[in-house]
């Protein structure tokens, strides 16, 4: 599904990713772990196409196409979804309008008919149950005045509505209490299918108790320094990152 080779990227002329190789197949869950500043979030942003980051080299083939050359909206239309670490507040645009616009833009890109507001309500009501969100959230401005937990749940709601092929969760666990974490993880797990894949970017092992990865990769100083199974996460929890940094 996604083959990343020798990916280098940075921001403001500073190289952050110094050669990433990663291969993801349908149905898999990959966890990207690592200390602060290792490049985890940069990888997530670059895959989603944030123009603030500059790609310096390498490639990311997504279902046979070069992802790095696509506009962010095209990536989304082709099934990439980034759950933001810091979801953006957009005062003046209601959640309902935002979600429906995104849903319809993605449908249009696939040559499908747009869905009218009433039919969309049916779709969204069902998805909202997944993240235990109240309907009143639909009429509020996107993320404006939302608590940290509400913002993260709103990200998963968007994911539930847009049904991506490849979801990238960037520090989705940060700032969540244990109940919110359970709800968010429950939503992600409910959306797992054999034909889609998930990248979980996280600093802590905690989230991986709920979203169990097939592979764990440790990022340090812009490179993957170790890959392993889910037991690697437990080892990191116990030993921290230092032993890997020294080894690298």
């Amino acid at each position: 599904m996604l083959d990343i080779t020798s990916l280098r990227a940075g921001i403001a002329e500073r190289e952050i990713l110094k050669g990433i190789d990663l291969s993801i197949k349908p149905g898999e869950v990959h966890a990207i772990m690592g200390p602060n500043g290792s490049g985890k979030s940069t990888l997530a942003q670059v895959l989603a196409g944030n123009p603030a980051y500059e790609v310096l080299g390498g490639s990311a083939m997504y279902n046979g196409e070069e992802l790095l050359e696509m506009e962010p909206e095209v990536r989304a239309q082709k099934g990439i979804f980034l759950a933001f670490q810091y979801p953006v507040e957009i005062p003046g645009v209601t959640n309902a309008y935002f979600l429906r616009s995104a849903y319809n833009e993605i449908r249009k890109s696939r040559g499908e008919e747009e869905v009218d507001p009433l039919d969309f309500l049916d779709i969204i009501e069902e998805r909202m149950k997944l993240v235990e969100m109240d309907e009143s959230m639909l009429n509020r401005s996107v993320n404006a005045g939302f608590s940290g937990g509400e913002k993260k749940r709103n990200e998963i709601l968007q994911m539930a509505v847009l049904q991506p092929k490849l979801a990238i969760l960037d520090e989705t666990d940060s700032g969540l209490d244990i109940d919110a974490l359970r709800i968010v993880a429950g939503g992600v797990n409910a959306l797992r299918r054999p034909d889609n894949a998930t990248i979980v970017v996280t600093h802590y092992q905690r989230l991986l108790n709920y979203i169990v990865p097939d592979y764990v990769h440790v990022l340090a100083n812009g490179r993957i320094v170790r890959s392993g199974g889910k037991e690697l996460a437990l080892e990191l929890e116990e030993r921290g990152y230092d032993w890997l940094l020294e080894a690298a």
Partner: protein, 465 residues
């Protein structure tokens, strides 16, 4: 209290926007032209008091002349384009009641539902396009009718050039000298008007070269309540000059919602000045929506003369191309425990230019004043330019006042967020621009007006976004 903020944003393209200064000779000769024009108009039929007022006004205009960039309030906006042509009051049609305009023509500009609508075509009241009802509690009618009724004329006399700064503001003086028609709205004490009032000023191609000078008076006796919308629209593409004045009197405990919708012809010039006087515990909600005209200037001044009153001054301007839009507001806190809240937002595209100059004066006796003022601008292009100057002058010591201004492009983080959800750049930009503008439209408390302006704002961004 915060320090004075002066935010300015100039693009590198400023140079090509410099307007050739009009020589003093031209400026002075244009003033002379209007003085002569005043003398040439036969006024034998006019009421004596009005004639006196007009004479005082034209003298004042002659003394003041047209403002130059040396006038602090005109530092960023040049009146030169208005001086390029000698505008003359429109010729009164022989049958004013049967103009080329039909009800269908004005329908797009009117509000549905229970409204009293006064339609003025090229400055002149058109009865058969209007729909008004007056009763003992409220009078709503054109100046031309009011002046032929003794009681109404007397009321008009007492309020004409009362709060308007005829002695100090040249365009206001010019208006008082040439005021052709306009509306009189008088709501009696303890009366809540069941219907909103719409003063609809339409210009068509016959307005080419016209000086249109509406003069409106809105007076609310104590505890009266009414909504008045002034619309300036164009059914053509003429070059004309609207120079409007509205005088507002708000009695104790009264409440006025006063909205302006400026959608003049793209070749028109518009100067609109509102002057309000507020008594005790009253509320004035003034809103200016401006998208039209090549050059427009809105002046809104209110005097909080009583205690415990409120004024909200809000506005939204949306311009592109070579348009200039200028808002000047002035709030004088003279009474105690008054609140003034002001939010102006602007969206600029192309090589357009916006000016905002907001003044809040807090006099020494105006203790417990609560004043908020902000002006936020969104630039959609490199060529757009904003000069914004929120100002506070505080002479009382127990007050709470804040002000600020922002000028900037679309938030790139928000744009990326929308795009990452599959929404293309043009739709995302339109959504963000609309969202920016919608915040201030939420201040409008009349749903019909809010809905209409939301629609107009959204349509405005369909172009060029």
């Amino acid at each position: 209290m915060t320090d004075a903020v002066m935010a300015r944003a100039h693009s590198p393209l400023d140079a090509k926007r410099v307007v050739t200064p009009v020589a003093h000779a031209t400026r002075d000769s244009r003033v002379e032209g209007y003085l002569k024009l005043f003398d040439d108009i036969g006024r034998g039929h006019e009421l004596l008091w009005l004639l006196k007022q007009r004479r005082a006004a034209i003298e004042s205009f002659g003394r003041l002349g047209f403002p130059t960039s040396k006038d602090e309030d005109w530092h960023f906006t040049s009146v030169a384009p208005i001086l390029e042509r000698a505008y003359v009051p429109p010729v009164t049609p022989s049958a004013a009641d049967s103009p080329a305009l039909t009800r269908e023509d004005v329908a797009p500009y009117t509000f549905e539902g229970e409204w009293e609508t006064l339609v003025f075509l090229n400055g002149r009241y058109v009865a058969n396009l209007s729909q008004i009802e007056s009763d003992a509690q409220a009078y709503v009618g054109p100046m031309s009718d009011a002046l032929v009724d003794d009681a109404r004329a007397h009321f008009f006399e007492r309020h004409f050039a009362g709060v308007a700064d005829v002695g100090g503001h040249s365009f206001t003086a010019l208006n008082a000298a040439f005021a052709g028609d306009g509306a009189l709205v008088h709501v009696s004490a303890d009366t809540v008007m069941p219907r909103n009032i719409h003063l609809l000023f339409v210009s068509d191609d016959a307005a080419e070269g016209a000086l249109v000078s509406p003069h409106n008076i809105i007076a609310l006796d104590h505890h009266a309540e009414v909504t008045v919308v002034e619309s300036y629209v164009s059914a053509g593409n003429a070059n004309y000059f609207t120079n409007a004045v509205t005088e507002v009197y708000i009695g104790d405990g009264a409440r006025l919602r006063h909205y302006k919708i400026q959608r003049e012809s793209p070749r028109a010039y518009h100067v609109g000045s509102w002057y309000a006087h507020q008594a005790d515990t009253c509320a004035y909600e003034a809103f200016s929506f401006a998208t039209g005209a090549d050059l427009s200037r809105t002046n809104i001044a209110t005097l909080l003369d009583g205690n415990g009153s409120h004024v909200s001054l809000d506005g939204l301007y949306l311009v592109n191309g070579e348009q200039t839009v200028d808002h000047q507001t002035s709030v004088v806190h003279a009474g105690e425990s008054c609140t003034s809240h002001e939010l102006y937002k602007g969206v600029l595209d192309g090589d357009s230019h916006a000016v905002f100059n907001g003044k809040v004066y807090v006099r020494a006796e105006a203790q417990k004043t609560d004043g908020k003022q902000s002006n936020n601008n969104l630039l959609l292009s490199e060529g757009a330019r904003v000069d914004t100057k929120p100002q506070l002058e505080i002479y009382a010591d127990d007050v709470k006042c804040t002000h600020g201004a922002t000028v900037g492009p679309v938030d790139s983080t928000a744009l990326f967020y929308l795009k990452s959800r599959g929404i293309g750049t043009s739709i995302a930009l339109r959504l963000l621009t609309y969202a920016f503008a919608a915040e201030v439209l939420e201040e409008l408390t009349i749903p019909a007006v809010r809905d209409e302006l939301e629609k107009l704002a959204f349509e405005r961004f369909a172009v060029g976004a």
